[in-house]
């Protein structure tokens, strides 16, 4: 109870800081009116939530990476590669299903660790490293799939994307689970505190004795792992593996994080905002579809939303800087 007042104030300044909650509410109301209530029908809400899951999961990993002033462009490729390998194991090699799931997760994590190692130990720039990794994984997936789609995944595999538990889809449960883990990790764990310090001032964090190298490998490994989780959900939903899985998802994940208040300058933001950011993107997509807006202009609208989010982040930072002086 000691600093009740200051906590109260910081709650509101945080709220206005990312503004994501306000945008969220405005969009929900606006779309409800425009679509004459279609957008808030329970069936549509479940639909929105399902679409949120994969990008949302990727956005959680992306948030960790961006807090550390990095970027992970390889998530889509990692998802494609792990689904290709998983599908081949399941259909052609006859590996037990549960083992295949495990293999998929291990592949994602391993690729992430290679990213992390290159960036933290070899000091390669994150942007180019992960872009190269995107090409490596995408190309490998393409080769493994031989340019075709692999069908015939075992029935049980549909559990992630099509099953449900207490009326809520399993995929949504998975998103909730990882959001919670991400939130707790960032807010209450030592690793989380160190991550914010690394993003806020890398040199000072190093001098304070933080194990920057190990932490950095870990965050890229987490991002890779979560890419594989996303791959599980997608393959389960469509019950096949194809190379286009995850195409362009890295940009959606980055956009979600930025809209959700994760600053590209590092050291700021969290997973709740990022997942809310995903929600906003999906809702806009969904609303525009319901309104039968041309898909071409939809892309432009999405771009405008991202543009605005980054602009407001930069303007807010400059304002804060001016206030300090």
């Amino acid at each position: 109870m000691k600093f009740r007042d200051s906590k109260f104030i910081s709650f509101f300044s945080n709220l206005s800081k990312n503004g994501v909650v306000i945008i969220f509410i405005v969009i929900v109301i606006a779309l409800a009116f425009l679509t004459k209530g279609k957008s808030i029908k329970p069936s549509n809400i479940v639909n929105i939530m399902l679409q949120t899951t994969t990008i949302g999961i990727l956005a959680i990993g992306m948030t960790l990476v961006i807090i550390d002033r990095g970027i992970d462009l390889s998530v889509g490729g990692v998802a494609a590669l792990s689904s290709a390998v998983g599908a081949i194991c399941m259909t052609k090699l006859g590996v037990p299903w549960i083992l295949c799931v495990l293999i998929m997760l291990v592949i994602g994590t391993l690729v992430g660790m290679i990213n992390g190692f290159s960036i933290s130990v070899l000091k390669m720039p994150a942007f180019i490293t992960t872009m190269a990794m995107l090409k490596i994984t995408q190309g490998s997936a393409h080769y493994l799939l031989g340019g075709t789609t692999i069908f015939g995944l075992p029935e049980i595999h549909s559990v992630f994307g099509q099953g449900s538990f207490i009326g809520i889809p399993v995929a949504v449960w998975i998103l909730i689970f990882f959001t919670l883990i991400g939130f707790l990790l960032l807010k209450y764990s030592r690793f989380g505190r160190e991550l914010y310090a690394m993003g806020g001032n890398p040199k000072a964090a190093w001098i304070a004795g933080i194990n920057v190298t190990q932490n950095r490998i870990l965050i890229y490994a987490i991002s890779g792992f979560l890419s594989a989780v996303a791959a599980l959900i997608i393959t389960s939903r469509i019950m096949c593996a194809q190379v286009t899985i995850g195409d362009g998802s890295e940009l959606d994940a980055i956009a979600s994080a930025v809209i959700g208040g994760v600053s590209m300058a590092g050291g700021e933001g969290g997973v709740l905002g990022a997942v809310a950011g995903t929600f906003i993107i999906v809702m806009i997509n969904n609303g525009l579809n319901l309104l039968a807006v041309s898909p071409y202009i939809q892309t432009a609208i999405k771009g405008t939303v991202i543009f605005t989010a980054i602009a407001s982040d930069v303007i807010r930072r400059r304002k804060e800087l001016r206030l300090k002086q």
Binding site: K2, F3, S6, K7, S10, L184, Y188, S189, R190, F191, R193, E194, Y196, A197, G199, G200, N201, K203, A204, A205, W206, I207, A208, G209, I210, N211, V212, G267, E268, K324
Partner: protein
């Protein structure tokens, strides 16, 4: 070496006060076609005098004459337009660009269509370099040149504006001993081309060899201006720090000194520590619970000691032992594990995490303790934060505010506090009072003394001799990368240490 020519610049009876204290008091300084050195300890008024000449600050009183007519410069730019140039102590070039680009930035030779004429630009650059007979390829990258060469390019750049006065602020402080020789030769060349040179330095040897005249400042007063050949080292030292009889014994304010018994045991021992171009076979030891001052003027290598001990600088030779065990720290993280703490010189770049709260900044190095299970223990966290805030007497006593809203002094206390909350055995502080408001300096030093009562051994690295003298149990004096003396503050005055440091 005579200076019979007419003065180019005269500063007449200049006074300047900062916060009621005279930084300069009725100082008169004239400059002819000569190398005129200004010497004095930190705070003697050297930089104030030069900044007034450059128009960076305005004098409270006094006149400036340029070629006999009164002038006043409102900005460094205006001074530059009147052909007064300065080469700053810290290099400010673009390492990723060529020498030509560095030298001709914003004034390239262009073709009729507006495109850069590279051949002509390189040729012009070469001409400028030739003025100092420099054999540097205009096309080479600035960052690939040695520090001395980079400094000489800076000289060439300053000369390319055709100045009548060139101010050199400690131009050799970052250079190795051999590189300095090259610079001296070029500075004499600059003078021979009719440029009046103001030379600021702490190194008496180079002042003695280079200067036509020397002006000594002490506590804002001019002590004298003398011909270089009339001076010997001892009289110069005496002018800078005062006669031994004038060094009043009541100046000894350091009452807290303890003769730390070497029986308490050594905690840290350093043998033959060398770092290329910076340190030469340095050996010393630190007793348990002692405050050891490591002092020297800028460029003496003192900062490197801290960096080596804390694993920031790794290319050293020599042996270090910590409580009798061989010690080698490859990274700061490693050093922390072995019980060392470090407060860096550059607080903004290396100390604070600007986006975080005061509380988060305090516990940054103690995370392992507070997050024993991997997740936060809020009870321990609050306990640590409040205990630390009490120890460092932080006001406002609120851990939730942003660190960047605190004053420099308070930020420094927070950076120090990180190591209090931990069981730190040896705390190294590099220039702990830099950029700290005057009022907070005393508090930082009393905090350092309090730490030793908790069993911490402290190394204070600083070029503020007077401050270190007031807090240290023992002072090591560095000069040109070597230890040149050990001073017991209890039985000496700080000027004794400074005299050793510049000799």
């Amino acid at each position: 070496m005579e200076a019979v020519n007419e003065p180019v610049v005269v500063l007449q009876n200049i006074s300047k006060k900062f916060g009621g204290i005279f930084a300069l008091n009725q100082v008169t300084f004239d400059l002819r076609n000569e190398i005129h050195s200004i010497v004095g300890h930190n705070g003697a008024g050297k930089s104030t005098l030069v900044r007034i000449l450059m128009g960076a600050i305005q004098p409270d009183d006094g006149e400036i004459y340029l070629n006999g007519s009164p002038v006043s410069f409102d900005s460094p730019r205006e001074a530059q337009e009147n052909r007064i140039s300065m080469v700053w102590q810290e290099l400010s070039n673009f390492p990723n660009l060529t020498v030509t680009e560095n030298l001709l930035m914003q004034r390239f030779v262009t073709k009729a269509n507006g495109a850069i004429n590279w051949k002509a630009s390189h040729d012009l650059c070469k001409q400028f370099l030739q003025r100092l007979s420099l054999d540097i390829d205009p096309k080479s990258m600035m960052g690939k040149l040695s520090l001395a060469q980079q400094q000489l390019v800076e000289f060439s750049k300053a000369l390319s504006y055709d100045p009548v006065v060139l101010i050199l602020d400690e131009p050799t402080s970052a250079l190795s001993f051999r590189e300095q020789e090259i610079l001296y030769e070029k500075i004499i060349k600059i003078k021979s081309q009719g440029v009046a040179v103001v030379f600021i330095s702490h190194k008496l040897d180079e002042i003695m060899t280079l200067s036509d005249r020397v002006t000594v400042l002490r506590d804002g007063q001019k002590i004298f201006t003398k011909m270089g050949n009339e001076l010997d080292k001892d009289s110069l030292v005496e002018a800078i720090v005062g006669k031994p009889s004038e060094r009043k014994k009541e100046k000894i304010r350091n009452t807290g000194q303890r003769d730390v018994d070497s029986n308490t045991g050594l905690i840290l021992e350093v043998k033959n520590l060398s770092l290329e171009r910076r340190l030469e076979k340095v050996s010393f030891s630190l007793n348990k619970g002692e405050i050891l001052g490591i002092t020297g003027v800028s460029g003496s290598g003192i900062s490197d000691i801290g960096k080596i001990l804390f694993g920031i600088e790794q290319d050293y030779t020599g042996e270090i032992s910590l409580e009798g065990h061989p010690y080698e720290s490859l990274t700061p993280q490693d050093a922390v594990k072995q019980g060392l703490g470090y407060v860096p010189k550059d607080r903004k770049e290396e100390g604070i995490i600007p986006g975080m709260t005061v509380g988060d900044n305090i516990v940054l190095s103690t995370l392992k303790q507070i997050y024993m299970t991997g997740f936060v223990n809020n009870r321990i966290r609050d306990e640590v934060i409040y205990r630390i805030m009490d120890i460092i007497d932080l006001k406002p006593r609120n851990p939730e505010i942003a660190i960047s809203s605190l004053s420099g002094g308070n930020q420094q206390k927070v950076v120090m506090a990180r190591w209090i909350s931990k069981k730190t055995r040896v705390l190294i502080l590099d220039e702990p009072t830099r950029g700290v408001d005057v009022g907070a300096i005393g508090k930082i030093y009393s905090l350092i003394r309090d730490l030793t009562h908790q069993g911490v051994s402290v190394i204070v690295i600083s070029s503020e001799f007077e401050e270190v003298h007031s807090v240290a149990d023992r002072m090591l004096v560095f000069n040109k990368g070597k230890i040149v003396g050990e001073i017991k503050p209890a039985s000496s005055v700080w000027e004794d240490a400074f005299a050793l440091a510049i000799k």
